[in-house]
Symmetry: C2
Subunit: 519 residues, 2 copies
Amino acid sequence: MGKHSSAGAGPGALKVRRVAIDTYRENVAYLHRECPVYRTEGFQALAKIEVHGGRAHILAVLNVVDDVAVVKPTELGLSEQAFAQLGIRQGALVRVAQAEPPASMDAVRRKIGGERLVADDYRSIIRDITDNHFSKTEIAAFLVASSQSELDRDEVLHLTRAMFESGERLDWKEPLVADKHCIGGIPGNRTSMIVVPIVAAHGMLIPKTSSRAITSPAGTADTMEALARVELPIGTLHDIVRKHRGCIAWGGTARLAPADDILISVERPLGIDSQGQMVASFLSKKLAAGATHILLDIPVGPTAKVRQMRAAQSLRRLFEYVGDNLGIHLEAVITDGRQPIGRGIGPALEARDVMQVLGNDPCAPMDLRQKALRLAGRVLEFDPDVRGGSGFAIARDILDSGRALAKMQALIDAQGRNHEPPHPAPLTFAAKSPARGFVTGIDNLRLAHVARLAGAPMTRGAGVDMFRKLGDAVAKGEPLYRVHAGFPAELHFARALSERGSGFTIGRADDVPRAYVEF
Amino acid sequence: MGKHSSAGAGPGALKVRRVAIDTYRENVAYLHRECPVYRTEGFQALAKIEVHGGRAHILAVLNVVDDVAVVKPTELGLSEQAFAQLGIRQGALVRVAQAEPPASMDAVRRKIGGERLVADDYRSIIRDITDNHFSKTEIAAFLVASSQSELDRDEVLHLTRAMFESGERLDWKEPLVADKHCIGGIPGNRTSMIVVPIVAAHGMLIPKTSSRAITSPAGTADTMEALARVELPIGTLHDIVRKHRGCIAWGGTARLAPADDILISVERPLGIDSQGQMVASFLSKKLAAGATHILLDIPVGPTAKVRQMRAAQSLRRLFEYVGDNLGIHLEAVITDGRQPIGRGIGPALEARDVMQVLGNDPCAPMDLRQKALRLAGRVLEFDPDVRGGSGFAIARDILDSGRALAKMQALIDAQGRNHEPPHPAPLTFAAKSPARGFVTGIDNLRLAHVARLAGAPMTRGAGVDMFRKLGDAVAKGEPLYRVHAGFPAELHFARALSERGSGFTIGRADDVPRAYVEF
């Protein structure tokens, strides 16, 4: 590949300097405006340069600097990740060239043009993304071009395989490694924190790694962190899993499917949803985490990620197709996503619900208990020695006997107990029913938004505590939920949104929608 | 719109600090990793924050800093454009909040989903882009979603109008303001530098503003800059145009259709082509520049931007539709784009060709002369006093009489003559014919690429000088073109590419392709 070398053999080389700016998975190079290499508009407008140093070279987005404290005219500054990727010492000489777009951008442009891509195309796109050869705008172009139903199922398979192969794979050296995952979108849906202790207490291996919340009020990692440490070195993680048959940890420590993390870092802020990307992201991560058997939870409901039954079934078929072709045992269940699960929304409030269920507290939210038991029962039936249909009873027995709680306490101690678990945040207000009647709708998105404005997940005790669920009778002026916040401004924002619309619909008993799902 | 305020009323406000980094039309904020506001992964992952200071607020992409020399934990750093946009003094207190995506991203997501957008959608998208509320990835998402034939002609009209209204408009206070523009893609096609002096010599107003090369080996502004200053203050520009009836200047000084500049800064590096974006970009700029009558050059050929006659005709109809609805007089001509125009490719070599034509030099390239005369003739016929069909003869008379050259010299002196015009760069090699025969093909893209690798437009004298054109006979080993470079490395890169494929095809006389175009 020919390059436009501007340093060339002429006045030439620049001294490399580490600039302590973390540009989050995008290489950035800093060039002083008076630097002789920076001569024409085109250099900046093309946005990306190639930096050659030693035997390595990297691509980086160019920022122009007017402050010699950041970079001198004789220097080339590199952001932290760019400096690390080039891997040479401070002050070493580098050459700079105008970068050609990465070769696989041709494939991205063909995809934009509506073409079907082949396995090699996805392999080279994902390799270039993993090697930081794509700028964020190029990644956005790829994501949009492959959004919606633009990928057929073989393309999703190719993409998944390419993403899986982009990183390392954990090897648990056992024939059955279980995992359980929800596609998301339902506040309070913390079943994993109940399923894992039950399954691990049964003796089945379930090393659960989760993400933190990015656009939601809490992820499983955030909620577990209210109780215990979740950022564990990979060695410690292995030790805990070997000893306790499970863990509930943050998944970011291991370098699993790194291309997925890069894609997500662009996709989430854009707020675009793509079935193909979702399937590839999820399966590549789970494969890399060493899972052999996966139970997938697809909630369906008017304010869930998946809104119609036929869409849920089509997503399930796509998951099954890709899972089968990658040699993974995958089962998907379509669940009731009409409303949040449990009572609490936000890390501390959700952790409270989970511990009530595990502790067989009579106040424990029954919907969370029932859903967790059903999911755990299906996972237990991955065990060839468990008779079809008997998983639920085994799960219930493990929960009712206190063995699940004991396992959870063991996991908390092994990961590192948080000795000051957070309480619900002190500033509160209650959203009240505007009329007498029955709860006929609860908007997942609105409740999540109120909880986020109240400070979740940043403020662990912040969030929403629901007093009523679908079908419940309410009197006029009775509280529907209480909002907890840590700061007055956050309380104010949450209250303002809640007053514009609480997220609850009150109507007649006949209007409560039915769920037509497996459970 | 509710915001997640993290500064809130708590420990709170940060001191604003100007960070002298030019992030090229994208606001960037720098936060120290130890800053109390920066607490969770979500804050960085969401990528964008809202900064409130005084009565203004801006959106900015977040970079995390580990160096107190750049920003202290109690400070918020802002890149140059972000600091300027917020418009408060150094050290003033600001609050930071997690930004919600700009409201018009909803419309972008609908476009991604295949919906048709209405005028209000385009207005709010373009307003958000102009106000720097979009990150580059969001802009990329919009560009890809509206690429190809995803926009119908009314959408292109709405987009054009929104872009035009995003900035200022030059007012020349005359009823007929002519412009002439080529959609690009043909190396050496410097007809504007001949058309402008002819038309201005006739007395018609033609204030020509052009761009610099970004992905091509030379733009009109780069070529003119080999002879004269092109970056002129807007007042000077007006004076020159009033006195000389024309100018050939760089268009970046005035704030015309600023949304277009932002879109281009993302679109060009991505290398995606969109008819709708091209039409909107071009017409919004020309409208803002005050043009009332436009002649558009659409070259068609196997390696041109437009490759088939029907595609050229469909593009012409789209231009006509939007132009008519915006009340501009637009004529489009479809021209021969089978090969480069003239002999030189690169600023100095193209300026030489232009001056040979204007000087009636017997060595002047006839194709450049003929095309420029035909275009000038069509522009002259915008004059109601010029009889249909007689424009060409008038243009030729102005050129042959030396009045066009005199006008050009006057423009050069008025803009600021370059007293040391560049010569062809000193390092050279020749690409030779591999066989005896006739030139049956010249690849525009390959020749442009060779010229760019040789250093054009950065090195003004660099580029390609062609000795043969389509249909010419050559002997084996005869030179087809000479490459000029300023640095050995650049000569090497250009030679390597040329040796892999010169861009010339040699065949039989019968194989020379015919052009079926207007001229």
